[in-house]
C-alpha cells in the first residue's frame, strides 16, 4: 500500500501547517509534565504525542452532536475512538463533511485509576513496558482492532518504530498532502497484526447479579459511553427506575423491592441499546466508581449480537447498522 513515512517531529509541522487557518482545529494528544492528555488544538501545537497510554474517556464522547458549520477538524485519535466516531456518523450525530478522522495504531492503555508516572510514550518503549507489566486494561487486552485501519486515514507503526501514514478515503489523501515527502510503497512489516477471535460470551443470571450488587445507579457508565447518545434516555424519568411517589406506589402495589431499584433492568436495557454500536473501548468500566467489570458484559454481548449479522461496529462508513436494515429471507430460526 502506498503511504508516506513520517520523519521524526515532522507531524507537528504538518499539523501546524493545517492549523494556520483560523477555522481549523486538531483534536489529539498532548504531552505535558502530568503525562498525556486529550486536547483540542487551535493555531499552534508544540508537544504533540501520537500515543496516549492512559485511558480516561473515549474522545468520541466529546464529538456527540457535533455539526461543524465550516470548521475543519482533524481527529488524531485511537482506533476505538475513531470507530465510535464512525458509529455516531451512521446515527446522524456528527456531520462528516469537514472532519478528517485519522486513526493511530494503539499499543494498549492503562487505566487512569492506575498510578502511571513511569509510563513511556514512545512506541518501542511502550511495547516493552507492556511486555513486563500487566497493568494493561482488560478492554485493551481483548481488543479486536488496535490497528489504525479505520477512518479516513491511518497512522501505523512498523517494526523499526517508524510512523507511516496511509490514506483510506479521498479526505485521507488530503491529509497526506499536508505531510512532506513523497508517497512510497511500504515494504516493512507493521508492529501490529490482525485481530484474533475470542470465545463466545456466556453467562448466567447468578454471576450477573453478583457482579452488579455493588452498582449504585450513578449512571456514569451511560454518561461516559461514547455511543449512548439519546437526549431523552428512558431512564431519565421515573417510569423505568421509580423514585419518590412512583417508588412508593410500586412497593404498595407489588411488595418489597431491592434498592436502588432496577439495576439489572438498567444494565440489560443499556446492553441491548448499545449492542450494535458498542466498540468495546471500556469507557464505561473506566467511569464506574465501584469497579464493576462492565466491559466483560457489554463487549461480550455486543460481539455476539454483532456477530449474528456479521457486522463490526465502526469498521466502515458504508455498512448500515443492522437494526436499521433487513433482508427479506433470514432468521427463520428466531420465529416459533
Amino acid at each position: 500500500m502506498l503511504g508516506k513515512k513520517i520523519k521524526n517531529g515532522s507531524i507537528e509541522d504538518t499539523l501546524n501547517r493545517f492549523l494556520k487557518d483560523d477555522q481549523h482545529l486538531v483534536l489529539g494528544f498532548e504531552k505535558d509534565e502530568n503525562g498525556v492528555s486529550l486536547r483540542a488544538f487551535k493555531n499552534h501545537l508544540d508537544h504533540y504525542s501520537f500515543l496516549n497510554p492512559i485511558f480516561s474517556t473515549n474522545g468520541a464522547l466529546h464529538l456527540r452532536r457535533l455539526f461543524s458549520k465550516g470548521t475543519k477538524i482533524i481527529l488524531m485519535l485511537r482506533p476505538c475512538e475513531i470507530r465510535a466516531y464512525i458509529e455516531l456518523i451512521k446515527l446522524n450525530q456528527i456531520e462528516r463533511e469537514d472532519i478528517i478522522a485519522v486513526s493511530i495504531d494503539c499499543l494498549g492503555t492503562v487505566s487512569s485509576k492506575e498510578k502511571a508516572d513511569d509510563i513511556p510514550v514512545e512506541a518501542g518503549q511502550l511495547k516493552d513496558y507492556f511486555k513486563n507489566s500487566d497493568t494493561m486494561r482488560w478492554a485493551c487486552k481483548v481488543c479486536r482492532e488496535k490497528r489504525g485501519v479505520v477512518g479516513d486515514a491511518g497512522i501505523r507503526i512498523d517494526k523499526d518504530g517508524l510512523f507511516w501514514a496511509f490514506p483510506y478515503t479521498e479526505k485521507g489523501e488530503t491529509f497526506l498532502t499536508l505531510i512532506e515527502g513523497e508517497s512510497e510503497e511500504n515494504k516493512t512489516e507493521m508492529l501490529m497484526s490482525g485481530s484474533e477471535k475470542t470465545d463466545k460470551f456466556q453467562n448466567d443470571m447468578k454471576t450477573f447479579a453478583k457482579d452488579f450488587t455493588k452498582c449504585i445507579m450513578c449512571m456514569n457508565c451511560r454518561d461516559m459511553c461514547p455511543v449512548c447518545y439519546c437526549i431523552d434516555c428512558v431512564f431519565n424519568g421515573d417510569e423505568y427506575l421509580p423514585k419518590g411517589d412512583a417508588l412508593l406506589n410500586k412497593i404498595l402495589r407489588s411488595g418489597p423491592v431491592q434498592l436502588p431499584q432496577g439495576k439489572e433492568l438498567f444494565h440489560f436495557i443499556r446492553m441491548y441499546h448499545v449492542s450494535q454500536t458498542c466498540v468495546g473501548c471500556g469507557a464505561c468500566e473506566e467511569a464506574c466508581p465501584q469497579g464493576i467489570p462492565l466491559t466483560k458484559y457489554f463487549k461480550g454481548v455486543s460481539e455476539r449480537l454483532q456477530g449474528m449479522y456479521s457486522y463490526m461496529s465502526g469498521k466502515s462508513f458504508d455498512e448500515t447498522i443492522p437494526y436499521l436494515t433487513f433482508l427479506e429471507d433470514e432468521l427463520k430460526n428466531a420465529e416459533d
Binding site: S254, L265, I269, P322, Y323, L324, E330, A334
Partner: protein, 139 residues
C-alpha cells in the same frame, strides 16, 4: 400438603400487532375459543413499535414469559415493520441466550384470520412455561 398441590400459574405478557395478532385474538373471542387467563395482551400499532426495553422490563417486573407477535413477513400494514422486529427480537433472543434465559421470549407471526393458530401458539407457550415452572418448584 395443599401448598404443594397448588400449581403456579405463569403470567405471560404478549405484545400484539393491532392489525394482525390482536385482531386474531378478538376473533378467537368471537369464535369462543379459550386461551389461558395468564396471557395478557398489550396492543401495539405495529410489532416494530416494541422496543426490546419493553420486553426486558416486563421480564424484570415479574412476567414468566413474553411474546411478540405480528403479521407474517411481507404482510405488514407499514410495509416493512415486522422485518425490523425480526432483527431486533432475534438479537434480543441471542442476548437472553448469553444469560441462559432464552426460554422466556418468543416471536411469532399470526395473521388476522388465524384465530386458531393464535390460540394454539399461546396455549403451547403457556403450558410449556407452566410445566417448567412447576418442575422448578418441586426441586
Amino acid at each position: 400438603m395443599s401448598q404443594d398441590k397448588a400449581e403456579k400459574n405463569p403470567e405471560i405478557i404478549g405484545f400484539a400487532c393491532s392489525y394482525c395478532t390482536f385482531k386474531a385474538s378478538e376473533m378467537a373471542g368471537s369464535l369462543r375459543l379459550k386461551y389461558p387467563d395468564g396471557v395478557k395482551l398489550v396492543q401495539v400499532p405495529c410489532s416494530s413499535r416494541v422496543d426490546p426495553a419493553f420486553v426486558i422490563k416486563a421480564i424484570f417486573e415479574g412476567a414468566d414469559g413474553v411474546f411478540v407477535a405480528g403479521c407474517h413477513p411481507g404482510d405488514c400494514h407499514f410495509i416493512k415493520g415486522n422485518y425490523f422486529t425480526r432483527r431486533k427480537i432475534a438479537a434480543l433472543k441471542e442476548m437472553f441466550d448469553a444469560f441462559s434465559m432464552n426460554d422466556k421470549l418468543r416471536l411469532f407471526w399470526v395473521s388476522a384470520a388465524e384465530a386458531r393458530r393464535f390460540v394454539e401458539k399461546v396455549t403451547g407457550m403457556y403450558n410449556e412455561i407452566k410445566e417448567r415452572k412447576n418442575v422448578r418448584k418441586e426441586n
